[in-house]
């Protein structure tokens, strides 16, 4: 793992240790690649947000950079018409299941979705798809934060943190397809679950699905 290699990202020569995932190499060298579901310490990546696509010379189709180990002489382009198109569609699909109310949102300005839109020149609007219903109840049972499913993009960061860092395991994915949600065991409110309200999930949330209660 410690063997150093050289690769090219967007024309820049970069040295990195072999086997590290391309996404982190790029981010650490100041080259932004959109991402939501990736967690550096997680070895079993879901690669489910479909936002971190890049073009690699010699590969037929764009690949997700979070799952791609870097190797000697790799030539990477973070933008191409194909990449942009994939990212645009994936982003719009995410937004179709996300309540857009940026101006009144607590995360306005520090939101990961806004950052991606800004970096890639994407619109925070759903044009091509029919937005899904988000008639979900807000779980305000914890004292320090609230959980608003209508803003959840199912990246799974909170679940990973809850399990691997907080070592609690109060939340997880349940159901499937359009009904997939982050929930507790038996869909009980968080206050009735094993949740310790450590707040790590709130830090991990890229949007405002999990947000601190404003004092």
């Amino acid at each position: 793992m410690s063997k150093m290699i050289t690769l090219t990202i967007d024309g820049r020569k970069i040295t990195a240790s072999e086997g590290e995932k391309l996404l982190w190499v790029a981010l650490e060298n100041g080259i932004y690649i959109p991402n939501l579901c990736a967690i550096k310490e997680n070895n079993r990546l879901s690669a489910s947000c479909r936002l971190c696509f890049v073009e690699v010379e010699g590969l037929a189709a764009p690949v997700t950079s979070c799952t791609l180990p870097v190797s000697e002489g790799m030539v990477v382009k973070t933008r191409s018409p194909r990449v942009d198109r994939l990212v645009q569609t994936a982003f719009e699909l995410l937004l179709s299941h996300h309540r857009l109310e940026c101006s009144s949102c607590s995360k306005n300005g520090s939101c990961e979705l806004q950052k991606i839109a800004k970096e890639r020149g994407l619109k925070l609007r759903v044009k091509r798809f029919k937005p899904l219903d988000y008639e979900t109840e807000v779980d305000d049972s914890p004292k320090t934060f609230v959980f608003d499913r209508s803003k959840c993009v199912l990246c799974g960061r909170c679940i990973w943190i809850c399990r691997n860092i907080a070592k609690v395991g109060a939340i997880g994915f349940s159901r499937r397809g359009l009904e997939r949600v982050v929930s507790t065991f038996g869909d009980v409110p968080l206050a009735e679950s094993p949740c310790t309200e450590c707040g790590l999930c709130v830090e991990a949330c890229p949007g405002a699905a999990l947000a601190r209660v404003q004092a």
Binding site: G169, A170, G172, S174, R175, R176, S183, F185, S193, P194
Partner: protein
């Protein structure tokens, strides 16, 4: 949905044996869930909690797969099982209208069982007779072209057949309970007319 005392008893009696058959490894989760459903007919929450304890995983990790796969059901099967087809043809022909009619008539949601365990309502994907869409399978009998009126008819036939049974075996408290239920059901069509 609340579990009845006798159901809780069955769960605590049956479960330990099943869990003991398997090694305490997370990869045994699905086989255990299948076996439990085989024995009990459904996966109650207390059973899932016990399985989680045995496998040393968070309970929500059992809940996830149990709600993900269609083969698992979370509520006990009712005496009468209603399965509404939501395959493409039935969906287009108004399967959701049939589903909603049943939900209203039975006062339960899709996937649930009535508190007296008489009816359970399920959604299935294609039963193989799309020309009869929308199709509902009622206790293994296939009903085609199910309109809300037909739903009322199906419910009436249930009530009639149960009425016969009731006359055969006159039971005190249970009879009262059923009569009460029938009263409720009778009052519902009136509500529907107003909608």
């Amino acid at each position: 949905m609340k579990l009845l005392e006798r159901e809780k008893e069955i769960i605590s009696n049956e479960l330990q044996d099943i869990v003991d058959e398997y090694q305490s490894k997370p990869e045994n989760l699905i086989p255990i869930l299948q076996k439990v459903q085989d024995k009990l007919g459904y996966l109650p929450l207390p059973a899932m909690e016990k399985i989680a304890q045995a496998l040393h995983i968070p309970a929500v990790d059992v809940f996830g797969p149990a709600t993900f796969y269609n083969q698992f059901r979370l509520n006990p099967p009712g005496e009468h099982q209603v399965k509404v087809c939501m395959g493409t043809a039935c969906y287009m022909a108004g399967g959701s209208i049939a589903m909603e009619s049943f939900e209203r008539r039975l006062n339960i949601k899709e996937g649930e069982t009535s508190p007296d365990r008489k009816y359970s309502l399920e959604r299935v994907a294609c039963v193989g007779c799309c020309t009869m869409a929308p199709v509902v399978v009622v206790d293994d009998e296939v009903e085609g072209s199910v309109t809300p009126t037909r739903v009322d008819g199906i419910m009436l036939s249930f009530e009639a057949s149960d009425g016969e049974k009731k006359q055969e075996q006159v039971e005190g408290p249970e009879k009262e309970q059923r009569e009460e239920l029938e009263k409720e059901e009778k009052s519902e069509p009136e509500k529907k007319e107003g909608e």
